[in-house]
């Protein structure tokens, strides 16, 4: 048994446990910010280590856990997302509660859940990783003890999330019963299109779509995004969604590949609906986080539509899109955090006059939003292009057209936000301050978005290699 393949996960667990122990040993009054720096440094080390595993393609525990390029791609995405989120949210977390040490430890443990999901090669590992991530997110969403919105959001997420898990699990039990195995490749070998099998498949699809907030399983997303502390919202939007995508891809393309004829139509409908609902409803939002929630529903629709191609080109588009979506979201949430630190609320109105107070952050927000809308030369354009090209090849022209039209509409509401920043007067003349680490994260997001947009080659190569390792 080659336990070395699990090193990165084990390292993150140890890091989290160390933070818990240090938190206990530190004097009660002392600020926990040093623990945050410790977490960031540890994660950077683990990120560097994961590059070591490139080229590996092996399984542990009787094929339950696989390390290949696909898993590594997602793991690195999750680690980078966590590092950036931690960096821009030190000030915000400090104001949240006294137990900030717990916050860092929990965030790291949820990261472990996502990493396990990326590597999961059987239904049990999928389930355990998924629940590790989700249960910790229930806690994190309700972490803001000052706000009753936070506990409300946490409770809603908990109830809907566990019900969705139960549905997913019921589907898994049927799939297990009718194939006699829970390992994905063996499921693929024994699969038949019996009604019970299709029931299991449908229930599992519903469960995964809930985690990715695909319409019509999206009802939790706006409330939870609005009520949760901003760093948690950012992680939910970027990493938790990407983890859902990773699992969905592996399960549907490895285990259920032979039932394509049955799930392709449903997936196309779900993707189309998500684009329409996410973008239309976002127009009326007045809260930045809620607006980003609806935008994330639409983006999930775009990502999901890549599954329709069911080949390496489509998966490549999805992976590429997941990365650029993460990068754009980091920028948008960093700016939201800065504004929230200033005014204590996250209305879109609070962004007014940002262009005079902090021109740099206004530019970052604009570029991030336009990247999500898919305007060239931002990264979002290239990502949408890859996905649409891949699915047009397979005859899903109407989805590509719908996506194009909807991204035109989305430009309108993203521009509404930009207009608030550039043409409205600021509410007061207070000095606008933002910490250095937040500015650095914003700068990284800006550069990455433009770089990927203008020169997509290297990332596309990486995504392509990762996508090919699935077959």
């Amino acid at each position: 048994m080659n336990i070395a393949l699990l090193t990165s996960e084990i390292a993150v667990v140890i890091l989290a446990l160390l933070i818990i122990v240090f938190d206990l040993l530190m004097p009660r009054q002392e600020a926990r910010r040093s623990l945050g720096y410790f977490a960031v440094c540890g994660l950077l080390g683990i990120l560097v280590y994961t590059f070591n595993q490139h080229g590996a393609s092996a399984t542990v525990y009787h094929g339950f856990f696989v390390v290949d390029k696909f898993a590594l791609f997602f793991k690195q995405l999750f680690i980078v997302a966590t590092i950036l989120t931690l960096l821009f949210s030190f000030d915000y977390i400090e104001g949240l509660t006294h137990n900030t040490g717990e916050f860092y430890a929990l965030l790291l443990l949820s990261l472990v859940g996502m990493m396990v999901m990326a590597s999961a090669n059987d239904l049990l590992t999928v389930f355990v990783g998924l629940e590790l991530m989700t249960i910790i997110f229930y806690i994190l969403v309700g972490f803001d003890l000052r706000s009753s919105k936070s506990s409300e959001a946490g409770t809603k997420y908990l109830i809907l999330g566990s019900a969705a898990s139960a549905v997913l699990l019921y589907g898994m039990s049927w799939v297990y019963g009718f194939t006699g195995s829970i390992v994905l490749s063996e499921i693929a070998a024994h699969i038949t299109a019996s009604p019970a099998m299709l029931l299991g498949l449908g229930l599992m699809l519903a469960g995964f779509c809930f985690k990715m907030s695909i319409v019509p399983f999206h009802m939790w997303a706006p409330d939870v995004y609005e009520g949760a502390p901003i760093p948690v919202t950012a992680m939910l939007a970027m990493a938790s969604k990407a983890a859902g995508v990773a699992v969905l891809l592996r399960v549907f393309l490895v285990a259920f590949a032979d039932l394509q004829a049955y799930w392709l139509t449903i997936v196309s409908l779900l993707a189309g609906l998500s684009m329409i609902v996410g973008i239309i409803v976002a127009i009326w939002q007045t809260n930045t986080k809620r607006m980003l929630a609806y935008s994330s529903i639409a983006q999930a629709g775009y990502i999901l539509s890549g599954l329709l191609a069911a080949d390496a080109a489509g998966v490549k588009g999805m992976l590429f899109y997941a990365v650029l979506y993460m990068v754009a979201n980091v920028g948008a949430f960093a700016v939201t955090t800065a504004v929230n630190n200033q005014y204590g609320s996250d209305k879109i109105d609070d962004l007014s006059g940002l262009s005079q107070k902090s021109p740099f952050l206004a530019v970052v927000m604009t570029v991030s939003l336009l990247s999500m809308a898919g305007l060239p030369p931002m990264a979002g354009f290239v990502g949408k292009m890859y996905i649409f090209m891949a699915i047009t090849d397979k005859g899903y022209f109407w989805i590509a057209m719908l996506g194009l039209v909807m991204s035109m509409v989305s430009v309108y509401y993203y521009m509404l936000v930009v207009k608030v920043m550039y043409s409205k007067e600021a509410k007061n003349q207070q000095e606008f301050t933002a910490s250095v680490s937040l500015r650095i994260v914003a700068l990284i997001s800006l550069i990455a978005t433009l770089f990927i947009g203008i020169y997509p080659g290297p990332l596309a190569e990486l995504a392509n290699a990762a996508a090919r390792s699935l077959w």
């Binding site: 048994m1 446990l17 818990i20 122990v21 206990l24």
Partner: protein, 120 residues
């Protein structure tokens, strides 16, 4: 197949009839309060009369104990499997279980240090 469910049906019938019978008997032979006055219907040699609300709220501290208990309760489930196969699994599983228990111990220590086990 349906005949097998018949046994369950019989059990269900008994389960329904038995409490109804007991309650019904009590209903018929109980003293009528209207006839003998309120004193007659008070409990006799069956404890103390309640004072105030009978629905009391318990302290939240019970809940913290319960949480710690649940953590170790579930741990036992995994310990069982490990214990059954202990001889065959060997050194690796022994160390693994040791690590598992230690993680739980860190959790217990955390709860202790944060004051979850204190009765305030």
């Amino acid at each position: 197949m349906l005949l097998d469910f018949g046994n369950v049906g019989m059990l269900l019938l008994v389960a329904l009839v038995f409490p109804l019978l007991a309650l019904g008997t009590a209903f018929f032979i109980r003293p009528r309060p209207r006839q003998h006055g309120i004193e007659k219907s008070l409990p006799y040699e069956c404890g103390v009369d309640t004072v105030g609300e009978t629905w009391v709220q318990f302290r939240a501290s019970y809940f913290l104990y319960a949480l710690v208990f649940v953590a170790f309760d579930i741990e036992t489930v995994f310990l069982y499997l490990w214990a059954i196969k202990f001889q065959e699994l060997g050194k690796f599983a022994f160390i693994e279980m040791f690590i598992f228990l230690n993680i739980l111990l860190v959790g217990l220590g955390y709860a202790w240090k944060k004051g979850a086990l204190e009765w305030k």
